[in-house]
Amino acid sequence: MALELLCDVVQRCQAIKDEGFSPEDYDLFFTAGRTCIEQGNSAQVLSILVDEKNKSIVRCMGWNLLGPLVQILLKKEDRNLPHCHAILSHLLEVCSPKELLVGLLEQVEEADTGSIAETVTLLLKPLQTVLLRLGMKKASTVGMALSTLLSQVARLPVPVTKEQEEDDVFGLCHCCTALLHFVKPFVEEIKEVVKDNNRISKDNELRVELLKFCMKSLSKPLLEVKLKDPDTLLKSPLRDFATEILIILSSIGESLPDLLSRNVLKRREVPGFLEEEVRYPKESLACLSHLLFVDHIAVDIFPAVLSPIFVLKCNMEYIELLLSRTEESRLQKGLELYEKSLIRVEDNSLPVDLLELKTFFSVPQNLVKVMTLCPDQTLRTKGLKVFQLSIDKFNTEAKYKFFKGMLKTSHHAGVEGYIIKNIKNQIDFSLKPYNGNDWFLGKHLLPLLRLVLCLPHGPETDLLQNLDRIMESLNLLRYMLIRDKEWENETGIWTELYKIEDNYLKPLRTGLNMSKAHYEAELKSAKENKKISSKDSKASVCTVTVDNEKLPNMTPEMQIQVLQSAVFTFDLIEGVLARIEEIIETKERPLS
């Protein structure tokens, strides 16, 4: 039936001149054609379409059949496949490229998640064929096609393990490889232009579209992907994809070192500046940097003459971006990039003026957030390791400035404690022969010490919360009093001591006594309550609800444990404090 309808409408249209077909003609052709194809009459449809008499009909209306055709091709039914492929080839040759593109891209866009990989694989070659027919005017259409394709491919789940990459169940690897083949002729075209003219205009449209494609790929899927090194996975389509993207960038005239240093060497007065920003998204560049320096992708096209400090400066921008996110994959990449950039630099070599760059302070602050707030323990541990590594690379003056800055801004007792421990190490280092310096000895040390040896809220400071910081600062003081002989006073601690006693030791002693008394009283009453209420039901003073579930009440045993451990903590602090007071007293008492 449908076949007859098709023949009818085609015959009628043969008579119409100058392609003046009516909307009804289009509709009938489409409906009949679709039904025929769906019913398996593709052979007959093919013969109608290739008939010379129907040439102009096919040219105008043929592309509408793309939808149903693609659906049949995706089903991969043997019987009709050859005919359907033949129909497709014919349409690709005869119909208007613009309309074909619309039809093909529509199919790509509408593919549901389960069939993205297959649809893309099927349609890449047809798309390429059509685009190449467009000649000189193809640039923006190429761009549109690439954008649509990438958007769909980016939706595919990313393989995590090497087995997953090998199995490629969802087809991401296959699609990436296919995309490379797809863009190849366009890249070659640009390379020809470069060869002929010895250069290429930054605004060459096709070049710009290829640039956009590379930048977009770097963001999705490449930033998501965790590449495996050749030892783990010898043949990796994703690694090949990454390598090829970098090579394409290089081929179209984008120097990799220039890309890397974009954010550090901003030229503000360039006209069209904003356009430049959009063309080079920071996230894509961050991925580029990670690929180069962590995954060692395309190292042979990247010059090995850049100064390590310059590379670090460039990468700080990307590290800052990656570490400011919360997704663990981003944090992992940020930490890796930071680590790799730091190990290239000699210890004690980074100068203090680097700290005037915003990133050299914002990155450590992001790092602190990772160390203290990230739920993943491996990341927290790695964060701490990289944090210490970064400290080790600063020269002495820079370390000083950095410690000062961190003490003023981190507001976290654990971090402050860690910094104070570093300060102690620096003082120890400086006291050794030939290591003397102005920063951790003498006049600059004292202002730093004042930030260390103080209670944030005077005697009312919560000693438990600030335990890490207090213990480290007391350890530092004790160390200095023992190590720096009174008659040498290289650190100046002895002349400063009376102030430290007034501003720190005495309020600490007061606070300590108060807290101990308070907690010991609480402990006593808790123990008494326990005796009483072990018979009666417990009326809790407060309840804690998380996510609509009430947490179990603290049992009296738990409460006692907590209070007990608080009292032990105060004992700890007191131990060091007492020792310090002892040392001071001994030194001040004249030897008799």
Partner: protein, 221 residues
């Protein structure tokens, strides 16, 4: 001898006329008045913003006051402040200028393989372009930007960078500053001015490696 005072740019009538936009007045005053004068009359800062907050009458008054009081640029008591304020405080991040400490003899040697024009030498901050090949002492090539065939060389670009700014290893910064345009030289750079004790981990450059480069300085901009 004092420099001549600036002359009035407009007559009273022209000042009051609507043809004279506020921005022109502001520009004139900013260019000619002492910093303290501008500060007192609230005429410092971005012209657009000043134009928003100041009325034409105020500007005319300030303009006249300027000529009466003769508080032109350079008349501020604290001349240093004047100079500091006048200097454009750029937003661009500063280049880390690492002043070379006097460390003794240079840690590289240069042998000329092909003479340059001996006239054009790059200065710090110039952009230089060069072809190069880098080898280790044992001959291993670890880096080169010279493609295998001449055809491909047409398609590639030489490496471009600003010399003397610490963006490349020290041996290169120092070496290239001593090369003239067109020169090809052999630079033997000791580890200290290359990648030092660390080398380039995960790359072909081991720790404490002396590096040998054959460099052709193609152009200077």
């Amino acid at each position: 001898m004092m420099a001549a005072d600036p002359a009035r740019a407009w007559s009273d009538e022209q000042l009051k006329s609507e043809d004279l936009p506020k921005r022109d007045l502001i520009t004139f005053i900013q260019e000619n008045a002492a910093h303290s004068f501008l500060s007192e009359h609230k005429l410092l800062g971005n012209i657009k913003n000043v134009a928003k907050t100041a009325k034409k009458e105020q500007l005319i008054e300030a303009y006249n006051q300027l000529f009466e009081s003769k508080r032109f640029k350079g008349t501020d008591v604290d001349a240093v402040t004047e100079q500091v304020q006048a200097a454009k405080i750029s937003d661009a991040p500063k280049e880390t200028k690492m002043e070379p400490v006097d460390e003794g003899p240079p840690k590289f040697t240069k042998t000329i393989l092909k003479k340059g024009d001996k006239a054009n030498f790059p200065r710090k901050g110039d952009t230089v372009s060069c072809w190069y090949t880098g080898t280790l002492e044992d001959g291993t090539v670890f880096d080169s930007n010279i493609p295998a065939t001449a055809k491909k060389k047409k398609q590639s670009k030489p490496l471009s960078f600003k010399v003397g700014m610490g963006r490349v290893i020290r041996g290169w910064d120092e070496g290239l500053l001593r090369m003239s345009k067109g020169e090809t030289a052999r630079l033997e750079i000791e580890a200290e001015w290359a990648y030092g004790r660390k080398g380039l981990p995960d790359s072909k450059i081991p720790p404490n490696a002396k590096l040998i480069f054959e460099v052709e300085l193609v152009s200077i901009d």
